[in-house]
Symmetry: C2
Subunit: 273 residues, 2 copies
């Protein structure tokens, strides 16, 4: 892959990169289309990265479908599907990690302490192998997107890190490979994430600016379904991820809720106008 | 620099890189000659990297001589001297670090806890900016060399990390920019580093294999000069840097000694034959 990427660059071709853990859904396909649109060559990686899973998380059960994924990549016009073996990216001597000091100390970083270190590390590795000009990440994983963007700047990667909008099921559930864990009877509880974001947006439109009241309303809506277990509901600065007390300016509402075996996340900008 | 490097690579030119903190001496020049020999283009960086200095260390007093350094680079045939400003490499938002889990927990890493994190971070940044095919590091900083080599492999940098032999003053003192801190009357104490390495090599030649006895002899020689303050004297595995008890196989003897304002390091392989 690295030799191929260097050869493509030497020919003057531009490379767009979409790193994924596979089990591709319409959200991933939208990232690929965004990459396809921006560059000559589209590379998609499929790698379930062990260093971003904590103990007791779903590394071993993470859903996989390489045959279906390859077909989906081909349909969207990916030129290269890169599927490294775990042992080739992590040898027994491996010991180098990329970590950030501030951005992971919020939201998902609090409940998943090794997650963003694992993500920043594997993305650094993949950036060095795939050598892209553009890399596309989904805004559902908002914290991941801004961490990768910060990391790319801080480590002087000359890569445009692009965020692509959340893609939702017709009923509003944000697309995620982990939605595969949901049982049909858990669907109503899963839908409370998006509904609580919409409710907050309506409240802001109606003049509410107090973050505590917006959060309390969201928590109330989610908790009305006994199948849902709230990890966090936050309203924060979209750049620093620090909590804000008021939605005087655009703020990010972000939530993580456990529904059965699935830990679901979602987010939206709250914009006072 | 990054645009220039990309353009050179696109033309098919190979790039050798020697990262330095300036105040260049014959040791640096030997690294440059090694790089010059191996590639089409030689890039030398001069940057006193703040993130590798701990509190109370000599960041502010580190010797500088940019005019003399530029002349020396030209004489050795460097094509580009890269001297980034501190603020351009470290913006106020900077928060991403590269660190290793095991190799820094030995030798200099114990007395300089942030040092190797700072080195691995700035070298990652410089690798991304200079985009070299080959990078040359001195073996006086042996631990740094193998940390960078490990880091380059772990993060999938496609860069050949080359180690170049220690260059010494006629009296045996290993060349170092920090030798500038030595007062003339401290020279005899500074020379005990190399003499104790030579003594250990003679003892091994004469059949001694016991690491504790080799270390005791070195400590005795160094301590015979009251101006010297031992930080460490170790004999370790040259790959893992773990202490060894016997020089049954090649082992690295490494020492760090404070002489006046200068913290000096030196090392040698002890090879039983």
């Amino acid at each position: 892959m690295q030799a191929r990427a260097e050869a493509l660059r030497a020919e003057g071709q531009t490379i767009a990169f979409v790193p994924t853990m596979g089990y591709l859904h319409q959200g991933h396909l939208s990232l690929m289309r965004e990459g396809r649109r921006r560059c000559d060559v589209l590379v998609v990686s499929i790698f379930v990265n062990p260093t971003q899973f904590g103990p007791g998380e779903d590394l071993d059960t993470y859903p996989r479908d390489l045959a279906g994924d390859s077909r989906r990549c081909r349909e969207v016009g990916a030129d290269i599907v890169f599927t490294p073996a775990r042992d080739s990216l992590y040898t027994p001597e491996f010991q180098t990690y990329v970590s950030l000091q501030a951005l992971p100390n919020h939201l998902c970083g609090l409940s998943r302490p090794v997650f963003f270190r694992g993500v920043a590390t594997v993305v650094t590795k993949l950036f060095n192998i795939v050598r892209p000009h553009v890399a596309v990440f989904g805004m559902k994983d908002y914290q991941q997107l801004i961490i990768i963007r910060r990391m790319a700047k801080d480590l002087n990667f000359n890569i445009d890190v692009v965020g692509a909008p959340i893609v939702r099921e017709p009923d509003g559930l944000a697309m995620s490979s982990r939605n595969a864990y949901l049982k049909p009877e858990e669907r109503p509880a899963a839908l409370t994430l998006y509904r609580s974001l919409q409710q907050a947006q309506r409240m802001v439109q109606d003049g509410e600016r107090d973050a505590a009241r917006l959060i309390a309303a969201a928590r109330g809506l989610i908790a009305s379904h006994p199948a849902s277990l709230i990890d966090y509901v936050r309203i924060c600065d979209p750049h620093s991820l620090e909590d804000v007390t008021s939605v005087a300016q655009s703020a990010l509402m972000a939530l993580a809720v456990k529904v059965g075996a699935a830990r679901l996340i979602d987010n939206a900008l709250l914009t006072p106008i």
